[in-house]
């Protein structure tokens, strides 16, 4: 068989031989070096000491804003154009550049450190016949390296040999593809024979020809030539860099790709940069502003031309023109001069401030104690600092189930044995008591093998077992025998179960604690401790689980020789196969099952059957024949199973709780109130998903209907979707109404938006992965979207990671809404990356989701705080910032525009140049920052009280193009006041001693003082939350302004820097005039009062939700929280009690000879180590590959 594979590989290798191919020879450095392949050193850093400055500067100037300011700076160096001194632009630019450079440098230093750490890892390399420790970076292509357990794989290696039987190695690929389960790789036999024979390895001269470096993780093509024989190589023989070796003592590998050529490195660097919608809007606005700036300058340039012709030409007696400058040229020059003067409309500090605000708000998330999970010491973490405000605009949440909504902990919660219900507590009046942390637990200390973590509250069950109730004993015996769990007993009495499915583990653990301890297994026997007595049962057959059978049975022979079939499975399936005598018991049990299902528990029904020796002999004979049959093996086995699994006796039912995380239903309720739609995308089965849907309040009894889409053809899916839609909204148009629009920079992006359709009542939609595959096709996706968006709750089950991402993208594309994906496992990575915001649940085993997420925390319930508090505030603050920032800069700039009409369009500035330099940098920077870091409209408790406060964010109410235009109009008004009131007040006025005050310098001082007072007052008006810091910054900035002004206008400064500070004495001479202060006062009030009046009128006539809540905050105390009521029991028609996360193929595995016999003494249960991860349930095929490996190896072994 091996030769077939190899010749096939050979064929492929020859056929697909590309021009570029890698050719290397083991242990032959000179030969390999001749190809100049990259060695194993990696470099992710961008700069070194010498390249940092030029490269970083270049990079920074590729950003539009920086380039623009550089351009301005260059313009200012032209004397004819320069209307401002160079420092007005240079100072802010240098400040911004150096801040960014420092940040980049520290990032790069970190990368250097990382690189160095990785490059200096040690690995054993085979050189000159012996193993030597070598740094990773010195490993060359063609070297043979030795890896040990838990080592990182050094480079992309061809596996040569391993310590494990059949040359297997186990690797964890989490870093590579995010899958946390172990994968098996197997070396070729020809190389595997070398084992750890150093001599053989160092004389190994295999030649490898393979594909050139690429980024396909799942494919590898090549061949290996040893001693003239050629063997095909595929992905199964390659260990990729980024994997970790697990459960393998050692292995040897031949380096094929090193460093930058490895598939890991070829795959990196593709992470797409997420930007918020505010970012996009900001870019569009900045472009608009550029256009606007151009228009203003153009108007002023025209004005200049007219002035030059009409006035300038005759004024030449006093103001001669420069040589060669005529009106046209002058107007051209003045265009550029005005570009410089008016450049403050696009302030450089905008981007810097935005970054600072986001950073601050990210820190708040990191610091939040209410998002800190003490159990595993995990604080919330904002991993991206650029997306905060988007958290306030979420419209759709896509959630994983396992590990996100649920804890992924299965607990044996209740059971029904022989018609008696156990597991519930009642008080004396017969009322159901809610189980809390304080409820007394059953004491299992009598059982030395009991699992201390097992918690049960109902004493009566233990008593029943201890009394020796036969049914109860049979019940637990079944649980102890009928499963595929592997035990691990490292120390005597320290039992550890490796369960393939967590529910099975829960059941076996329950049996263990109730005195039926599953101790060990061999392929033929199972040893259990039955109430302290060791019982070894002979395992005659395992009738394995599969999706059709939905049950699993074992046939065992007890030491007494009694043969029994134990079966557990879905209620519907088992009920069909029960003996008619169980009818009565069935009815009682059904009642219990309904109760369990109503509580959202996963149920299984247990049954047994005693078997006749004679019948069994025949059956076993046939079973053996069937399992060795070459054809139709599966059908024959199924038939046999069907035959024996009938007329069983019902024992009872188990209820396993898939524990929800704390506060999940409440969180979902809160989020629903905030008008956020939650879609659950899970790899779980439909039944499980549905169960969880009910238990976390997403699906409710009062829903009008819950549609289930589970068709197997495209037509079927379409029909089911359409039927659902017609039922919900009969009058809706058949064709979806798609609004086509253009958006983005230069309106290049085409967007299509499907409008929301109103539906009466709540509906739910459950769609399974198979149907989803059809529904996500081009022609059905809109249908899916429309139907799904009409529903209150959407649950997609059995979806692959790719489908998760597709669903997110679908909503993103057609709803133009902000999406958030939350998950914990590697299978959620794709959707976390696809959504606008990805949230990872941290603190669990796998970190993949967290690593690719933007925010992470430990519990699903923190999501409500993240969105309703942090998100809302961030959005509010960012919008406030933008509105205010544009206001203050437009106001600043427009005054220049008005002044142009009075200074011959000569680009004379209204303010002192120093004021222009420091306005954004110093006088207004801190107050606005304090506003945007501290402001809250209402505090967090009120935000929770009224989740409706979240909706304005979803509708982009606080900042949009409209708001921007309003800002501009407001600025226009303010600037008119700011220019014309001083103009009228100062025009022809003199000081109280008759001297000059209408001079340019006094006017500039007056205008800039007024401006600063007005923008500060406006800031105060916008501030909702006055902390001491706000006060300090506002008053401090004003004080700084006066201090700086008086200093710069002082005698000393003038005498030292005569030409830089010509405003000497202006402050003293004009600020001691009463009419100057009266003017300042008048202007401030004129700018502020209309705003106050308008806001007050709006508050009265059309109060927003925020106004209403704020109004209440002022008046009332927060209503005390309602006591947490125990979740109401769902008196329901059972959807389906059956929910069992199990997959096929384990029966064979646990009983297989090769597997068990070859197991070394130390307990090693590699196959199951990670199985309680989300993946275990989602992707059974992962396990199948392993099974096949094992089987294959088994067969080859027996050959």
């Amino acid at each position: 068989m091996g030769s077939v594979v190899s010749s096939f590989g050979n064929l492929c290798g020859k056929e697909k031989k590309q021009e570029e191919e890698r050719h290397l020879r083991a242990n032959d450095r000179p030969f390999n070096l001749s190809y100049l392949y990259a060695n194993n050193a990696i470099k992710t850093s961008k700069y070194n000491v010498f390249t940092f400055l030029p490269l970083n500067l270049f990079e920074q100037f590729t950003r539009l804003a920086n380039a623009y300011f550089l351009f301005l700076l260059l313009l200012q160096l032209i004397p004819q154009v320069s209307s401002l001194s160079w420092f007005t632009t240079a100072v802010p630019l240098i400040l911004v550049l150096s801040m960014t450079a420092v940040k980049d440098a520290s990032d790069d230093i970190n990368r250097h450190r990382c690189d160095r750490q990785v490059n200096n890892r040690q690995v054993n390399v085979l050189t000159d016949g012996e193993l030597k420790k070598e740094k990773w970076m010195n490993v060359q292509v063609g070297d043979i390296v030795k890896l040990e357990s838990n080592h990182f794989v050094t480079a992309d290696l061809l596996l040569l040999s391993s310590s494990e039987p059949l040359n297997l190695v186990y690797v964890e690929t989490a870093e590579l593809d995010g899958e946390t389960n172990l994968k098996v790789k197997q070396a070729l036999t020809v190389t595997g024979e070398m084992g750890d024979n150093i001599e053989a390895l160092s004389t190994f001269r295999g030649e490898v020809r393979c594909e050139p470096p690429n980024n396909r993780l799942d494919k590898f093509k090549g061949n290996l030539t040893v001693n003239g024989q050629t063997y095909g190589l595929d992905n199964d023989k390659i260990l990729l860099r980024g994997c970790t070796l697990r459960n393998t003592e050692w292995c040897f590998g031949l380096v094929i790709f090193g460093g930058p050529d490895t598939k890991l490195m070829q795959n990196s660097g593709k992470t797409t940069f997420k930007r918020t919608s505010i970012d996009h809007l900001m870019n569009v606005l900045v472009l608009c502003i550029f256009g606007f700036l151009g228009t203003m300058c153009f108007v002023l340039a025209i004005g200049n031309a007219i002035w030059e012709v009409k006035e300038g030409s005759v004024f030449t007696a006093f103001l001669p023109r420069e040589a060669g400058v005529n009106a046209a040229l002058s107007s051209f020059l003045s265009f550029w001069s005005y570009v410089i003067v008016l450049n403050t409309v696009v302030p450089i500090s905008l981007y810097v401030s935005v970054e600072i605000i986001r950073l601050g708000n990210s820190f708040y998330i990191d610091w939040d104690r209410k998002m800190y999970y003490p159990k595993n010491d995990t604080p919330a973490q904002a991993r991206t600092t650029t997306l905060n405000e988007e958290l306030g605009q979420i419209k759709y949440i896509f959630s994983d189930k396992t590990g996100t909504l649920t804890q992924n902990i299965m607990t044996f919660n209740k059971c029904s044995i022989n018609g008696k219900n156990y597991g519930e507590l009642f008080d004396f009046s017969g009322q159901r008591v809610e189980v809390t942390e304080k409820t007394q637990r059953v004491d299992f200390s009598w059982n030395q093998l009991a699992d201390p973590n097992f918690i049960f509250h109902d004493y009566s069950l233990l008593e029943t077992v201890k009394e020796g109730n036969p049914e109860a004993r049979a019940f637990f015996r079944l649980l102890a025998l009928c499963h595929t769990v592997m035990p691990e007993e490292k120390k005597e009495g320290e039992l550890n179960y490796q369960a393939q499915s967590p529910d099975e583990g829960a059941l076996v653990t329950a049996a263990r604690n109730f005195g039926f301890v599953f101790r060990s297994r061999t392929p033929e026997t199972i040893t259990i401790m039955e109430m302290g007595r060791k019982v070894t049962c002979e395992l005659l057959a395992v009738l394995d689980f599969n999706n059709v059978r939905k049950r699993m049975s074992v046939i065992v022979r007890s030491p007494e020789g009694k043969m029994t079939l134990y079966c557990k499975g879905a209620d519907t399936i088992i009920y069909e196969r029960l003996h008619p005598s169980c009818k009565k018991l069935m009815d009682v049990t059904t009642g219990h099952l309904n109760e369990y299902a109503g509580d959202g528990l996963r149920t299984l029904v247990l049954a047994y059957k005693d078997l006749e020796e004679s019948y069994m002999d025949g059956w076993r004979q046939r079973h053996h024949e069937a399992s060795t049959a070459m054809e139709g093996q599966e059908e024959m086995l199924n038939e046999l199973y069907e035959e024996i699994e009938k007329d069983m006796t019902l024992l009872g039912a188990t209820a396993v709780e898939d524990k929800l995380q704390d506060g999940v239903p409440q969180t979902i309720e809160q989020l629903a109130k905030a008008d956020i739609k939650i879609w659950v995308l899970t790899g779980d089965k439909q039944e499980t998903a549905e169960n969880i849907g009910y238990s976390c309040n997403m699906l409710r009894e009062e829903m009008k209907d819950v549609f289930i889409v589970a068709a197997n053809t495209a037509e079927g899916v379409k029909e089911e979707l359409q039927n659902a839609r017609r039922k919900m909204c009969p009058e809706a148009a058949e064709e979806p109404s798609v609004i086509k629009a253009r958006a983005g920079l230069f309106w290049l992006q085409k967007t299509e938006t499907v409008r929301d359709e109103k539906v009466d009542g709540d509906y739910g939609l459950i769609i399974n992965g198979h149907s989803l595959a059809f529904a996500l096709e081009k022609d059905l996706e809109l249908e899916l979207l429309r139907t799904a968006c009409m529903c209150q709750t959407v649950i997609c089950c059995r979806v692959t990671p790719l489908q998760k991402a597709q669903v997110v993208q679908l909503v993103k594309k057609y709803k133009q809404a902000v999406t958030l994906a939350i998950g914990d496992g590697a299978n959620d990575v794709s959707m976390i990356k696809a959504a606008h915001i990805g949230v990872g649940i941290s603190g669990q085993e796998g970190m993949q989701a967290v690593l690719s997420s933007d925010f992470s925390f430990a519990q699903f319930r923190y999501l409500q705080r993240l969105l309703l508090v942090h998100g809302r505030w961030s959005y509010l603050r960012m919008c406030k910032f933008l509105r205010y920032f544009f206001y203050k800069n437009f106001t600043f700039t427009f005054v220049h525009f008005w002044y142009a009409f009075f200074c011959g369009f000569s680009a004379q500035t209204v303010y002192d140049e120093w004021f222009i330099t420091l306005y954004n940098l110093m006088y207004t920077a801190l107050p606005i920052l304090s506003l945007c870091l501290f402001d809250q409209d209402v505090n967090d408790r009120w935000s929770f009280q009224y989740p409706q406060l979240y909706s304005p964010g979803q509708l982009n109410m606080y900042f949009s193009k409209k708001a921007f235009v309003r800002c501009m109009m407001h600025s226009c008004y303010s600037s008119l006041i700011l220019f014309f009131i001083p103009w009228a007040a100062m025009h022809d006025t003199v000081r109280d001693d008759g001297r000059d005050i209408a001079d340019y310098q006094s006017f500039a001082l007056l205008a800039q003082t007024c401006l600063l007072v007005v923008v500060s007052a406006q800031l105060c008006l916008d501030t909702h939350y006055w902390t001491t810091v706000n006060q300090l910054f506002v008053w401090g900035s004003l004080a700084t302004y006066f201090a700086v002004t008086f200093t710069m206008y002082s005698n000393g400064m003038f005498l030292i820097f005569t030409s830089v500070f010509p405003f000497i004495g202006t402050a003293r001479n004009s600020l001691n005039q009463p009419n100057v202060w009266l003017t300042i006062f008048l202007i401030s009030l004129l700018c502020i009062l209309p705003v106050v009046a308008l806001r007050f009128v709006l508050l009265q006539i059309r109060p927003t939700i925020n106004d209403k809540v704020r109004h209440m905050v002022g008046k009332e105390v927060l209503p005390s929280p309602a006591p947490r009521r125990p979740p109401a029991r769902r008196i329901s028609t059972r959807q389906s009690g059956y929910a069992f996360s199990h997959s096929q193929g384990y029966g064979n595995l646990v009983t297989s000879q090769g597997f068990l016999l070859k197991r070394p003494l130390k307990g090693r249960s590699i196959l199951f180590t990670q199985t309680d991860s989300a993946l275990a349930e989602n992707k059974p095929q992962q396990y199948r590959t392993i099974t096949e490996e094992v089987e294959e190896s088994q067969s080859s072994h027996s050959w």
């Binding site: 010491d377 809160q670 009280q945 022809d988 001079d999 006017f1003 000497i1064 009463p1074 009266l1078 009030l1085």
Partner: protein, 369 residues
């Protein structure tokens, strides 16, 4: 309502936190500071009828009296203005304005009689006003060398580039350089009082104390420090092209000569707007019994040197008294009265609106947003 059930989590955490923190690793639990938990004590003002409406009324009540006071003050200031540009053929200065040439050696004079209808009691300030004169043009404003004017010897010899094209003349540096200095106003105005009995007496005009103290004593300094011999200090420089006399001959008083000549300083303080007035002379009150300028006939004698006709400019002579709020400017008073009234009116309107919509507001139905 549900969510608030987690509010007590802080307490809950601290209990289990101590258990978890018992290990060697410090807990990653964030600090419980008001700043980090965003619980800084704060004042949260809300716009309510109770604050907004009184504010409007109070502002109205404050503004109107201030406005009236300002208006009355401004109205009490006496001002008299003569346009002596001489555009009208009937004007005495018509000839001078017509026959202007920069290099005429004979100054053209004209005298304008006028009649003051009311006496000016206190000190009277005499201004010259120019219109349509773009002293605030960017190229004009920057055409000066402050360090030269500050007496810097080096700048005296090598005027700044900003002064171009008035930096050098005949290969000699111009002092003071630049377009501003070059275009200095150089009309001479003299005032004569005609007694009812026909005798003409010249009214003494004070030429000092018209510039800012800081300008006179800090910003402007003659080269060579306190050297009395200005002529020597200006050695090697030439006068601005339009000037008739060099800078060191502007006045005979050494304290008012050269760069610290107050007429020059006043001119160098460029105006913010194209129409402006500048203080020319002060008529000091000598005798408390007699008004500074009694009612009667006067004559303004003008030595017409300064051409403004070419750019449609106007020249004015203004007498004005002053008050605590400066010269005559009714604007502020009117503005205050207007704003005060508007505030009052707005207060009434807002009160009305508030009254009308108040009921709706009192029971805010939040869920029906």
């Amino acid at each position: 309502m549900m969510a608030s059930s987690y509010k007590d989590e802080d307490g809950h955490i601290s209990v289990s936190g101590t258990g978890a923190g018992a290990g060697s690793l410090p807990s990653k639990k964030p600090e419980n500071t008001a700043f980090k938990q965003q619980r800084l004590p704060a004042w949260q003002p809300v716009l309510t009828a109770g604050t907004v409406l009184p504010a409007f009324f109070i502002i109205g009540l404050i503004f109107i009296p201030i406005g009236i006071g300002l208006y009355v003050t401004s109205n009490n200031i006496k001002e008299f203005e003569i346009d002596y540009t001489g555009l009208d053929p009937s004007s005495p200065c018509f000839n001078c304005s017509q026959n202007f040439s920069w290099n005429s050696t004979k100054p053209c004079t004209c005298s304008i009689p006028f009649y003051l209808e009311q006496p000016y009691e206190s000190n009277v300030f005499m201004y010259y006003g120019l219109s349509n004169f773009y002293q605030n043009h960017r190229r004009y404003v920057k055409s000066r060398d402050d360090s030269q004017l500050n007496g810097n010897e080096e700048s005296l010899r090598k005027p700044s580039k900003e002064c171009e094209p008035y930096a050098r003349h005949d290969n000699r540096p111009i002092a003071p350089c630049g377009a501003i200095a070059n275009s200095m106003f150089n009309d001479t105005l003299e005032l004569f009082y005609s007694d009812p009995n026909g005798t003409k007496t010249q009214i003494p005009l004070t030429a000092t104390g018209i510039a800012w103290w800081t300008d006179k004593h800090v910003k402007f300094r003659n080269p060579g420090g306190n050297n009395d011999n200005l002529t020597a200090a200006f050695q090697g420089t030439t006068k601005p092209i339009n000037w008739r006399r060099p800078a060191y001959e502007l006045d005979s008083d050494p304290e008012n000569n050269g760069f610290i000549n107050e007429d020059f300083i006043v001119w160098m303080r460029t105006a913010a707007l194209p129409t402006f007035r500048k203080l020319y002379r002060i008529i000091q009150r000598r005798n408390t019994m007699v008004p500074t300028l009694p009612r009667g006939n006067y004559t303004l004698e003008v030595v017409y040197n300064y051409p403004v006709r070419s750019f449609d400019g106007r020249k004015r002579m203004i007498f004005s008294t002053i008050s605590w709020m400066g010269g005559k400017n009714p604007f502020l008073g009117i503005a205050y009265i207007t704003v005060g009234s508007v505030c009052f009116l707005l207060g009434v309107i807002l009160l009305f609106i508030h009254h009308k919509y108040d009921n709706r507001n009192n029971n805010p139905d939040i869920s029906s947003n």
